[in-house]
């Protein structure tokens, strides 16, 4: 309601109690279930139609407004969990409890790698200026019961982008090559004696490790990017580890055929201080996201790259701690996802919420449906992409999920 889903009529209800008929019987988190009142808090931001398509977006998103005609909004997303851990686990793996493969791992398993010098699933993280950001967990990009080679590889913001990439001080690249030649020679001799083809594969992995020692720094070295391109992503792009820098990196990874690139930006949990924190998060992300879309487009890559932008759930229309410097509580019943490129409709809005932006009123899209659609656009049938574990065929979408054909071009 503050970014993607305008409800101008709601202003009249400001401060009034959210009607029972809208609230329904669903559970609230332990944080607001004891709150005495649930007053409606319409947005404080102005919305306007953008571009030729006229998609309405909030003033908090000036740059995304500039690429509105490339966007596809799903205003009718809904999820099942109400707390961060289960909800983000659900979004990532299709199940609220940990242990299942993440969507990127499924993608790596289903599609394999094109670029043999880089992992097929790469994760980039950043945080906003919030003092109390929700944490991330390595399991969010873990492969669950799929072989661990399909785990997301998190690029780091400080030090080596990939763990243990650099040789120890005192060992130059030339010396490493020299040592690896000896290693390959000895492993080759061992292969001759033992005959186990795994040894051959080990030799190959050491060679790839050596190539990564140059391909990864080459990838993360953005000194060759023109000022014009850097400008697309906004001023933060020069700060390593920022969301903007990660967006640029994401483009460079997409160019190098990495299958699944996932950016996590922390700091959206605005129970309090919404009026300070939300604009800051938008400043962090609006410009770079729009920049990424523009950059991919000008390189002709947008059609073959699907961008998906969203979070594990939405926020309540009613205020949390309204008398203090309040905010909004978790709300899985409706929220918006933004898509672009990759064969989805342009300048298009799918689904709608009720007058209070509290329940989905038209064309609901469940997390399973979104995941099914993402797989579909990657050429994978979510019902056929299975893996047998503990005697059962598992899927990302469990036994659910319908491809949302309406949003596909």
């Amino acid at each position: 309601m503050d970014l993607f889903d305008p409800k101008p009529e709601l202003e009249k209800q400001r401060g009034k109690e959210l009607p029972e008929s809208i609230l329904g019987k669903q559970r609230l988190t332990g944080m607001t279930s004891n709150q005495k009142t649930l007053p409606v808090a319409p947005t404080n931001y102005h919305f306007a139609p953008r571009g030729i398509s006229g998609i309405e977006l909030s003033d908090l998103l000036p740059n995304l407004s500039g690429v509105a005609d490339d966007l596809c909004l799903i205003r009718s997303m809904h999820s099942e969990a109400i707390n961060h851990d289960p909800a983000i686990t659900f979004l990532q793996t299709g199940f609220q409890l940990s242990g299942r493969p993440s969507i990127g791992s499924w993608m790596s398993y289903g599609l394999g790698a094109v670029n043999r010098n880089l992992p097929s699933y790469i994760v980039l993280t950043s945080r906003g200026g919030s003092s109390d950001a929700q944490p991330l967990y390595s399991r969010l990009w873990a492969s669950g019961f799929l072989p661990t080679e399909h785990s997301g590889v998190k690029f780091r913001n400080t030090g080596d982008p990939v763990y243990y990439l650099s040789n120890p001080s005192g060992i130059s690249r030339i010396m490493r090559r020299d040592m690896l030649d000896d290693l390959a020679n000895l492993n080759q001799q061992r292969l001759g004696v033992i005959g186990d083809p795994e040894i051959q594969s080990r030799i190959a992995q050491y060679e790839m490790a050596f190539r990564m020692q140059s391909s990864v720094p080459e990838l993360t070295d953005v000194s060759g990017e023109s000022e014009k391109v850097l400008k697309l992503y906004g001023p933060d792009v020069k700060k390593p580890g920022s969301y903007a820098a990660n967006c640029l990196l994401a483009r460079r990874l997409a160019e190098r055929d990495v299958r699944f690139i996932q950016l996590f930006h922390m700091g959206w949990d605005h129970h309090f201080k919404l009026s300070q924190d939300l604009p800051r998060q938008c400043r962090d992300t609006d410009h770079p996201t729009a920049g990424l879309i523009r950059d991919l487009k000008q390189r002709g890559l947008l059609d073959e790259t699907l961008i998906v932008w969203g979070g594990e759930f939405g926020r309540t229309i009613y205020a949390q701690a309204p008398d203090k410097n309040g905010g909004r509580d978790h709300h899985p019943r409706c929220f918006t996802f933004m898509l672009a490129g990759g064969g989805v409709n342009k300048g298009y809005v799918h689904g709608a919420t009720d007058d209070y932006c509290y329940n989905v009123s038209l064309n609901p899209v469940h997390v399973h449906d979104l995941n099914a659609t993402i797989l579909h656009q990657m050429g994978l049938n979510h019902e056929r992409l299975t893996y047998k574990y503990q005697g059962r065929q598992y899927r990302l979408t469990d036994v659910h999920g319908k491809v949302v054909h309406d949003i596909l071009a």
Partner: protein, 756 residues
């Protein structure tokens, strides 16, 4: 007499011919389970047309004049006309589902043609010792008779015995998780007595390192970690439970006692502290500490986690499938699931504890043996009662809290939960045991203790098979049942069904004796074969399931690190105690938020076995993760085995391995006078054998080339030797030591080194 003999021969022949028929369990059930049971199985809700193919009665029954299966009559069996139909609206499975393959269709046809015999799933029948295979041409013990028979059937010969060097290395890892020291190798090589190998095996089984090695295996299933997981993921102090596991394996606690104490130690008559401590198994699950979490929702999750872990570890079944509906494949109804649930539901515990640090109730102070003497000392020191009380309270507070199971007097009510949701109770249930396995113990109150006794009843079809198979997997690389995590209907067909059953029964007959079982495995000729393989065997026995060669498996993460510490002389061999913070990449916690400030340990704490490295569930140690350790968030009993470039980077560059290389190099320098002697010693120390001349020449010339570089740039030698917190001796020429460090680094990266 002659005639009797003849009849036996005929009967034997008949059995053999019968075996060539399509067997329900072996050939039909896997097809049904994978492609039919979703709609025609145990789950009453999803069942279509009222037909269940898992039950003979239902499959044979007539519905609207149609019978799915008519024994011996293909024409009348609707199953046949449906699966062979070309009509997309008529064909089974439905045309939008995964279809049967041609060979699957043929098998079903043959099965019905031959009379459509049903059998109970093999793993749900009580195991029986089959007669040992007749031929004794090869091997040392019963295992070899079964293995040899199967190899002969496949037209394969066993391999010759591995060299003594590779044997001692293999068995040292399997029984202690560490490589053999050079003097132990020498001892074995020089021992020409017939039982030289057995002496090695006995020494290893008696080593305190045995319990540590076995604990690593057990801790995965027990989802042991040093933090609570979820949002804040703060530390717990469950380590005394981990030490209980180590001590139990070292003391060779019989597996039935080991089971009863972990599942129900608190319910034993007058339980000891150790028996209560054992129940920490069921408190190792994660605890949600995220603000706003709903208490009852998470308490329910913990109870379900316990049922799931018990089911996976002891029964090899996925009980949690029955959380939301009757199990689709295995005979566990949703009601039965909640009857087991009722047994794990009776703790005075919370589901949500904001920012939980330390341990959650119920819990006990874990007191070591010294406690009593310290109390006596206090009693002697203080005469005043209050002072004494205060001093004892102070003393108590120095002992860690361990979360354990303590039953509430009045059991909490339990319900079948609709779709497994905590807030959707349907029907109240009483504690009870699933009906399909062995009978419930008579005259016992239905609680965890009854469950534990039921599991270790010799008639229980799963418990012994599951653990024997998983131990086999540890030793031979692949279980007799490959899907060692699941022995339910959907399991893989065992490579040697009679051997598995023979071992399971033998295990129980000999008092659930783990060391005895492991000894039988490693004493077998099967185990002692050389691991080298030719293309013929690779084609006919690609995964080495038939054991046509010795086992060759990549070492688990813990052993890889422990080995590096051992060969470098850094390893501190000390049992138990609180876990350690070892080296980790700088900034690891910062990147994922809310993880506080990392304070690494120093000194000997950096060089304890990996089992003692702290596990923080949401920020796994990167290099352990790379080598496939589970995050310990949920029960996992089978690790994947991958081979990736990131593993190579870790072994090349991680400070643990670079530091190990420099200390290993130092030992090499001390154990020889020339590069030749030094490298030969180091090579032996690492892989137990003497390098071949063609190998030695590679290492020596590499040493010399890099020595020249370090001599030219001594600064680089100092930089390299500065890695890690230990210092190197200045008595050695630093350029030579640095060049030797590069040799050590190459050795520590050898494929041979990271495989057993």
């Amino acid at each position: 007499m002659k005639q009797v003999h003849f009849i036996t021969a005929i009967a034997w022949l008949a059995v053999n011919i019968a075996k060539a028929e399509v067997g329900f369990n072996k050939d039909v059930l896997p097809i049904f389970a994978e492609k039919c049971f979703a709609c025609h199985g145990m789950d009453g809700v999803k069942r279509k047309a009222g037909l269940r193919l898992d039950e003979q009665e239902s499959a044979y029954a007539e519905r609207n004049g149609v019978r799915a299966v008519v024994p011996g009559d293909l024409k009348k069996s609707a199953l046949i006309s449906r699966i062979f139909s070309k009509d997309v609206d008529f064909v089974m499975p439905p045309s939008d589902e995964v279809q049967l393959t041609e060979s699957e269709k043929t098998r079903l046809k043959e099965w019905i043609g031959e009379g459509a015999n049903y059998e109970k799933h093999w793993a749900f029948q009580e195991p029986k010792k089959a007669k040992l295979p007749y031929r004794q041409d090869w091997g040392h013990n019963e295992i070899d008779r079964f293995i040899f028979e199967r190899l002969a059937k496949a037209g394969l010969e066993p391999k010759k015995q591995a060299t003594k060097e590779s044997l001692i290395r293999r068995v040292s890892f399997d029984l202690t998780g560490l490589p053999p020291a050079v003097d132990q190798i020498d001892l074995f090589l020089n021992d020409v007595s017939a039982d030289a190998y057995e002496k090695v095996v006995d020494r290893l089984l008696d080593s305190p390192r045995f319990g540590e090695r076995m604990a690593v295996w057990w801790l995965d299933g027990a989802r042991y970690a040093d933090s609570h997981g979820y949002d804040n993921d703060l530390e717990n102090s469950q380590w005394p439970w981990r030490d209980w596991v180590i001590e139990s394996f070292n003391a060779n606690k019989p597996y039935d006692e080991f089971t009863v104490e972990q599942l129900a130690g608190d319910l034993l008559p007058n339980p000891t502290q150790s028996q209560i401590l054992a129940t920490g198994f069921n408190r190792n699950h994660r605890i949600n500490t995220e603000g706003g979490a709903i208490d009852e929702e998470w308490r329910t999750e913990y109870v379900i986690d316990r049922v799931q872990a018990m089911g996976t570890v002891w029964m090899g079944l996925t009980l949690s499938c029955a959380r939301c509906h009757d199990h689709k494949y295995d005979p566990i109804s949703q009601k039965e699931f909640y009857q087991i649930f009722a047994m794990f539901n009776n703790l005075d515990e919370k589901g949500f504890i904001n920012n939980l640090r330390g341990s959650a109730d119920p819990r006990i102070r874990y007191k070591t043996r010294e406690y009593q003497s310290e109390v006596r000392a206090i009693a002697a020191k203080f005469e005043n009662k209050d002072e004494r009380k205060k001093a004892i309270a102070n003393l108590d507070s120095t002992y860690p809290w361990v979360m354990v199971m303590l039953e509430m007097e009045k059991p909490r009510k339990a319900f079948v939960l609709d779709r497994g949701q905590y807030d959707a109770p349907i029907e109240e249930v009483q504690a009870g045991l699933p009906a399909a396995f062995s009978p419930a113990p008579r005259g016992m109150k239905m609680n965890r203790l009854a469950l534990a006794h039921w599991l270790v009843d010799r008639r229980h079809p799963l418990t012994a098979r599951v653990v024997v198979n998983r131990l086999w997997e540890q030793v031979f690389g692949l279980g007799i049942v490959e899907s060692s995590e699941n022995l339910g209907v959907q399991t893989d067909w065992p490579s040697h069904p009679e051997l598995l059953d023979w071992l399971a029964v033998d295990f129980v007959e000999h008092g659930w004796n783990i060391k005895r079982l492991l000894k039988k495995m490693v004493m077998s000729a099967t185990y002692r074969q050389t691991a080298s393989v030719d293309s013929d065997r690779l084609i006919r026995d690609p995964k080495n399931q038939l054991l046509s060669r010795g086992p060759r498996v990549r070492l688990p993460a813990e052993m890889i690190r422990d080995q590096a510490l051992a060969v470098s002389g850094l390893l501190v061999e000390k049992i138990g105690g609180p876990s350690m913070w070892v080296y980790q990449p700088a900034g690891l916690w910062k990147e994922v938020e809310k993880r506080g400030t990392f304070v690494q340990d120093h000194g000997e704490k950096l060089y304890r076995r990996s089992l003692y490295s702290r596990i923080r569930r949401t920020v796994a140690h990167p290099s352990m993760l790379l080598f496939d350790t589970p995050s310990r968030e949920v029960c996992v009993v089978k690790r994947s085995q991958t081979n990736t470039p990131l593993q190579a980077l870790a072994l090349m560059n991680e400070v643990t391995y670079v530091e190990a290389a420099k200390k290993f190099a130092e030992r090499m320098m001390a154990n020889g006078a020339t590069p030749d002697e030094r490298i030969t010693w180091g090579f032996r120390c690492a892989v137990a054998r003497v390098p071949k001349p063609s190998e030695l020449v590679v290492l020596i010339s590499g040493y010399e080339r890099r020595l020249a570089k370090f001599v030219a740039t001594p600064k680089n030698a100092a930089l390299l030797l500065g890695q890690g917190e230990t210092k190197v001796s200045q008595a050695f020429d630093q350029s030579q030591l640095a060049a030797m460090t590069t040799v050590a680094n190459v050795i520590l990266n050898l494929d041979e080194l990271i495989n057993k």
